[in-house]
Symmetry: C2
Subunit: 902 residues, 2 copies
């Protein structure tokens, strides 16, 4: 018989922390904490496999599950000495979800299960605390009503149970929940039960077993609720993992003033500083803290209020860090001065914190360098490179009194945009104004999509561990929370802030590093790391920069992939070198044709009807190209530079406005009608699949010739000046060997001509993009000519999928929403496209075992794609300059086979 239920208590555990896949993160860690002797209320975990069974079998339990649960409840009654559903000595339990990967707040929780009209009086009698009993009961009804019975508030309205609470508080003239007395709470209980009867047509279920079964199913079902699906989509969590269900003896933080509940991080989750960091509420139950309903107290205050519990918590902090060798996020409850641990897990943290914590743990001897690499996500390096508000702009704003409020700095960075009050309207606001800041009283998991789309998030309520803060930090969103001065009226879509009126659509700026809120959109300036690299700050004065450098050094010890950059100008190349790029993987020569006089020469070339005229125009372009290449060769100081010959269709260079067309006619000495005719002639039905890439070079070999001449003349000149050069000439859009050979012949002929004229030689290679499926599957043939391949994954994705990046906006949303696609293939290399690449790698190596292999598509900077590139055996990845540091870390992680926990 399959074991479906795993018990945990001080007297023994069925599971441990290695069993996350089966017990979920929460269940595995509850067992682990029991094992290392921490005070954990006893309970049991229903396996994730049971959830998977539930979905695969039309929402039914495995046969053996009910029996095992009944057996576990009996064991729990024995362990606690209480009885489930009993009015005299009742066992109350919590029912909580817990998946393999942490999905904070995504799924549902029910506390105080086992209560009914009789049991509540039994509790009241037993604890001699009727207020507490009623408080627990009204919470239970609310959670059960919400989660199990699906009773929600409508848009613009609060949850009906919250409404009852507010109206009773108002009537009683009490500000906080914990000020209500037992009668008032009983009034809430009765009103809540009426809501249930009215909304469901049935009375609130009073049988403890029914409550437990329904709640377990509700937790199973929450795995497929919309926000959980959305969360999994974002974090790429497979649907077939399922969630575990944890059923645990209740301990109560709401039993009186010697009670409380809290959450804490063993280190600062925002900065990574090694300080105990958390919040708690006296006389409250768990969800109160996280939900941000009351603004909680700082953890340090617990030292005064309950010094013993505080000391115990500090001991546990150290024990957990020693045991897990990572920063922990914990939940605890204090019941009558007694501390209980309800959860521990590796704490979510900002990129800044992740990097600092990993490096500190290394210094503290808790982890080694390899583990440092496993403790961060490559993308988190971005946090070190994020912009901040321009200090001068801030000064001006302050002078103009546009600094209207200050909240908690929950997500570092700087964000500016238009105010938007509803998450599902952020996209529309962005469409209208470009950037949006989401402003809410508080956020809930329903808001994930809107938060993702917004530049930043500002909330009126909640603390550093509120939902908004957690999500923002993890996603690298700039975020300010608990900004109490905000008074938001969702109906009129206006908020007032210290006397200022801010309407929907007004510009606003928030500083996630200081908590400041400004009127107007403020300009930003670069990060500290950027400042050091720019020379505006000394490296020695920036601990951020020092950590950045150290992290890069460690990454470089492990990675096997080289990192190059895509750069078209000397300036870009220099930034990339500063970030550690060891070459240029893609230099797009066409970008060089746009500036100033060049574009006119280019256009003359396109208008020419004879080779002679084209050559005349190309002669004008030659010195520009040569100069550009020389600049790049110099900047790259001997690192290889991959230069792609002309790629885009010619019509992209022709003027689109009548004014420019007239100027072109005048300059070229032809009529406007002739210009129009040529524009018309160059029009294509599907330019992506048209006359571009090497197809241009084959029709007009003189273009390739000019470019080759510019490359080799520049290379000789720079080499003569004492700087090593390594040009790699790359032919785009090749589909077959003869195309490559045709262009290679032009390049090699010109190279020899230049070398002869200059009386010197330069080592160079000629290779090709692999960006067309036919090229991928005939790479064995193409490698007969090409000395290197560079995967152009943008075009390979377009042609491999038959999807135009310019047009796929029309259906990609439907695809994502309907689960047809899980990941945007233009962000992360799709598995089908990976197969094409694999064929190409195998084919290329079969023909030319030492062929050089790289990638220069956008996905070259995406950590998941980098992992694939490593696995498939590429030599390098090339990405935009700002992603070079991320790529270095991702490459190291790929080599180590590690990555941060999802």
């Amino acid at each position: 018989m399959t074991k479906r239920v795993f018990k945990f208590s001080a007297s023994g555990c069925d599971g441990d922390r290695e069993m996350k896949n089966l017990l979920g993160g929460k269940g595995a860690n509850l067992a682990e904490m029991c094992k290392i002797g921490l005070p954990v209320p006893p309970g049991f975990t229903i396996t994730t496999e049971s959830c998977v069974h539930y979905y695969k079998n039309n929402n039914t339990w495995p046969e053996e599950l009910e029996g095992q649960i009944r057996e576990a409840i009996a064991w729990l009654e024995k362990d606690t000495g209480k009885k489930f559903g009993d009015a005299e000595n009742p066992l109350l339990v919590s029912v909580r979800s817990g998946a393999r990967a942490s999905m904070p707040g995504m799924m549902d929780t029910i506390l105080n299960l086992g209560l009914n009209d009789k049991v509540v009086e039994g509790i009241a009698k037993k604890t001699n605390n009727r207020r507490f009993a009623m408080d627990s009961y009204r919470r239970f009804i609310k959670m059960f009503g919400d989660v199990v019975l699906g009773i929600k508030g409508e848009k613009g309205h609060e949850n009906p149970f919250e409404e009852i609470l507010h109206s009773v508080k108002k009537k009683a003239k009490k500000e906080f929940d914990n000020e209500l007395n037992d009668k008032e709470l009983e009034e809430i209980v009765n009103a809540s039960k009426e809501v249930v009867l009215k909304k469901t047509g049935k009375p609130f279920p009073d049988n403890a077993w029914d409550q437990l079964k329904l709640s377990t199913n509700a937790v199973f079902s929450s795995w497929m609720n919309e926000r959980a699906i959305e969360y999994r989509r974002i974090y790429k969590i497979p649907e077939d993992w399922g969630t575990a269900v944890n059923i645990q003896t209740m301990v109560f933080g709401n039993m009186g003033d010697d009670c409380g509940t809290g959450v804490a991080f063993t280190r600062d989750a925002a900065t990574g500083e090694n300080v105990f960091y958390g919040e708690f509420l006296m006389n409250a139950q768990g969800e109160d803290v996280v939900a941000g309903i009351r603004t909680p107290n700082k953890i340090i205050e617990l030292k005064n209020i309950m010094p013993k519990a505080y000391d115990q918590l500090m001991e546990i902090r150290e024990k957990l860090e020693q045991h897990y060798r990572d920063m922990q996020d914990i939940e605890f409850t204090i019941e009558n001065n007694k501390l209980f641990m309800l959860q521990c897990r590796n704490g979510k943290r900002t990129g800044l914190a992740a990097i600092r914590i990993a490096l500190d743990l290394l210094d503290e001897g808790k982890i080694d360098e390899k583990t440092v690499m496993s403790k961060i996500e490559a993308d988190q390096v971005t946090f070190l490179l994020r912009p901040i508000f321009n200090e001068d702009a801030k000064k001006v704003a302050k002078k103009e009194k546009r600094d209207i409020a200050k909240g908690l700095a929950a997500g570092p960075g700087a964000a500016a945009g238009r105010v938007c009050f509803f998450s599902d309207e952020v996209d529309a606001m962005k469409k209208k104004y470009g950037k949006a800041v989401l402003v809410r009283n508080e956020t809930s998991p329903e808001d994930i999509k809107g938060m993702e789309a917004a530049e930043g998030v500002l909330t009126a309520r909640g603390g550093m561990t509120s939902h908004a803060a957690l999500v923002a930090r993890q996603r690298g969103k700039t975020c300010v929370v608990g900004c109490k001065e905000l008074e938001i009226d969702y109906k009129t879509r206006i908020m007032t802030v210290n006397g200022h009126t801010v309407k929907e659509g007004d510009p606003i700026s928030i500083d996630g590093s200081t908590g400041e809120v400004y009127l107007g959109e403020m300009p930003t300036s670069p990060s500290e790391v950027m400042e050091v690299l720019n020379g505006t700050k000394k490296a020695s004065e920036s601990s951020t920069f020092k950590r950045f450098s150290r992290l890069m050094e460690i990454a470089d010890k492990f990675r096997r992939l080289d990192i190059r950059t895509n750069a078209d100008a000397p300036g870009e190349a220099e930034i990339a070198i500063a970030f550690g790029a060891k070459g240029i993987g893609l230099c797009r020569t066409e970008h060089m044709f746009f500036g100033g006089e060049r574009i006119w020469a280019m256009r003359e070339m396109i208008l020419a009807h004879t080779e002679t005229d084209r050559r005349k125009a190309l002669d004008k372009l030659l010195p520009f190209q040569r100069e550009d290449f020389a600049g790049i060769f110099k900047a790259m100081k001997g690192y290889p530079v991959t230069i792609r010959t002309l790629d885009p269709p010619l019509h992209e260079f022709l003027p689109q406005t009548e004014k420019d067309q007239k100027e072109l006619a005048q300059r070229a000495g032809i009529t406007l009608a002739q210009v129009h005719a040529r524009v018309e002639e160059l029009h294509e039905s599907n330019p992506m699949l048209g006359h571009r890439g090497c197809r241009l070079g084959i029709t007009y070999p003189e273009i390739t010739e000019m470019q080759a001449r510019a490359i080799f003349e520049a290379a000789c000149d720079v080499k003569k000046a004492g700087i090593e050069v390594k040009p790699e000439v790359m032919i785009p859009l090749v589909t077959c060997l003869p195309e490559f050979k045709n262009q290679e012949a032009v390049v090699r002929r010109v190279a020899e001509e230049v070398f002869k004229a200059k009386g010197m030689r330069v080592d160079y290679m000629v290779g090709t993009m692999i960006e067309i499926p036919r090229a991928a599957v005939t790479a064995d043939e193409i490698a007969q000519g090409a000395e290197f391949f560079s995967f152009g994954t943008n075009d390979l994705t377009q042609t491999g999928f038959g999807i135009s990046r310019d047009d796929y906006g029309k259906f990609i949303k439907d695809y994502m929403e309907k689960g047809v696609m899980k990941v945007d293939p233009f962000v992360s290399i799709d598995p089908g496209i990976q197969r094409l690449m694999k064929y190409a790698v195998e084919g290329g190596k079969a023909t030319r075992p030492n062929i050089k292999l790289g990638i220069c598509g956008e996905q070259g900077g995406d950590p998941d794609s980098i992992r694939f590139c490593h696995d498939v055996g590429l030599n390098y990845v090339s990405c935009s300059p700002y992603r070079v540091p991320i790529a270095r870390v991702a490459a190291a992680q790929a080599a180590l086979g590690v990555g941060s926990e999802k």
Copy 2:
């Protein structure tokens, strides 16, 4: 030492007919004819490998070649008792090309080699025939001048040697070459030598050895001349085969009136009738007959003139057919009443003739059914299906006296179009008027491209074996030759025909089955086979139809592939069934949306902004679709029908003219601006890669739903009427399994709904197009859902190559000319695309071993592609109705591993 030279003579041969690859077709057959005792002048063959060596080694001979040639010449001197270069008793030779595949007239020939001023007098003395000696000499200088020294005429001018001939003839007032006397010929010799001196700056080479070496190199070089390259491109002959060189003792047909030369076919090459068919010229050398300079005599006349030679020829005819078991094309020369064979090869023939000859040989017991399949090219079946002029139109034309001339019926069929006098202008003429007929005095290999592009070819000179006739027959071109009434003035671009003036661009019609030429473009009517199938002629009255049926029966015995058709309407389906299609492989539902009211309902659907409005419009379309499908199911009588759901992007259905847009606005009750807006909204940068195929069905499932409903309601209705139905629903443009699953779910749900409502079930399948590279390489996954694959090779070629068929006209010409592409991948499946298909077949079968596999792209009717489809293991090919018979033959040939000789 590699053997480079193979001798042949009555006394023994080094080679035989199996050695075509090494000796070329001509060399191998010369040896073979010697072996079977036919009178062949002795000689030797330089191998094709020597030619390949020549090209691979910078145009130099293999070391051993010269020695072997010298040795062979010495042997030949011994065999003939003559001496090479000797003035008293000179050995004269011919030097002729001969590749593995016959390339008639593509390469070069030199006759009478060994002559110079001294030798010519020796010959004159020895033969006592100075006229003959001079005639041979002037021919030699002309051929050597043309072929070896490259002296050509310019456009609009004749060859300078021809000009000399014409001016001497004019001066001497003689009509034909053979009327010239020795003095006149000597004048030509001297003038020709002057031309050589003037054009090359050197005197004509008089050393026999120099002549031989230069001529051998010229033949090697002719392998790479433009017309040979073009010919190989058309016939897909590999460049690396090279040509052999045949050096053979001269025999002379120009030695007097007991001499002559001729060419013949052992059967009628136009109709296939079992009659000896050929032409000869008295007192002439070989090229005179083929070149069409004089119109030759019919072979039957030889019986009177030289009965002994004629009888001998008849014996040889029978011997050759018995030996080769095929119709032979022979060349012979009669020297002083003695017959010599100069060549034999399998004769080129029309499709009509190929089929008739093969079936006759079968009846004569010379070959078996399998060999019948090897004796024809599948494409030749077209000849049986080609249109003829409408008899009524012909009567009218004759009444109006528009029948202006009659030539030889050299290529059956009917062609009408505008007169074009220059081959390189046919394309322009077609662009202007749609169709063109090429009209020339005679054609040469330079004209191939123009002939290919023209509807038909009309020549003033030449016989049934002239270049024009040969090429036209083989390529299935309608062709009339030797139409002497034509007087063409290339300079004024006007021809006069029996008093009529016909200008360039005037309409003309030619009947390649009767030789008639008409003014004006006449309508055509279908072939005899078509008439029988249409019921306008009885099968018993048409021997053509009987042969057609018999051929199809034989093909069906061997083929393994099923043949289906692409048909969108019941009428098309019926034709296809008559041609033997066993199902529909592609029924494009969108074509049904265009007629009458349907298009307006379709447009309403596209304009709708809500699902409700879309469903309203779709409800209007449903009855139309249902009716169409019912018609097709009935026509297909239980054969499977593959119906593809909506594929093209929606904008293709919207009106493009202002008038129609206004009507649409009015019908839909919206403003014109709203119509414009929707048109704009639907615009795509790359519609080929846009919102189309299953992407539409995923965004708008109600469209798929309506189509599925129409399919299953029609299927039930037809089945209820007692006709079996096999619908196969095909989802287009699938890239991944989830897309397929999404649409499959809609189809299966609707099917169940319909079956329930109708109280009956219909067997059906749901499958997918494989037309996107990603689908091909993940076919293993897609086959988890799809019950069948149909390769959409049009789109697979577009996306696999990254080439749009709408745009590739801009560079495909360059590609063909520069040898980058050899075959248009939209005509014949490209080898790279074949690899993608192979992956898909392997993947599909791995997951679903009995998966049904077919092809429905245009290439499904191309014999080479059908061969691949057979080899890779498809179940069927689907092609346009008129290509079904071709596909049946091609499928049989694929199964037998045979195909006609190239």
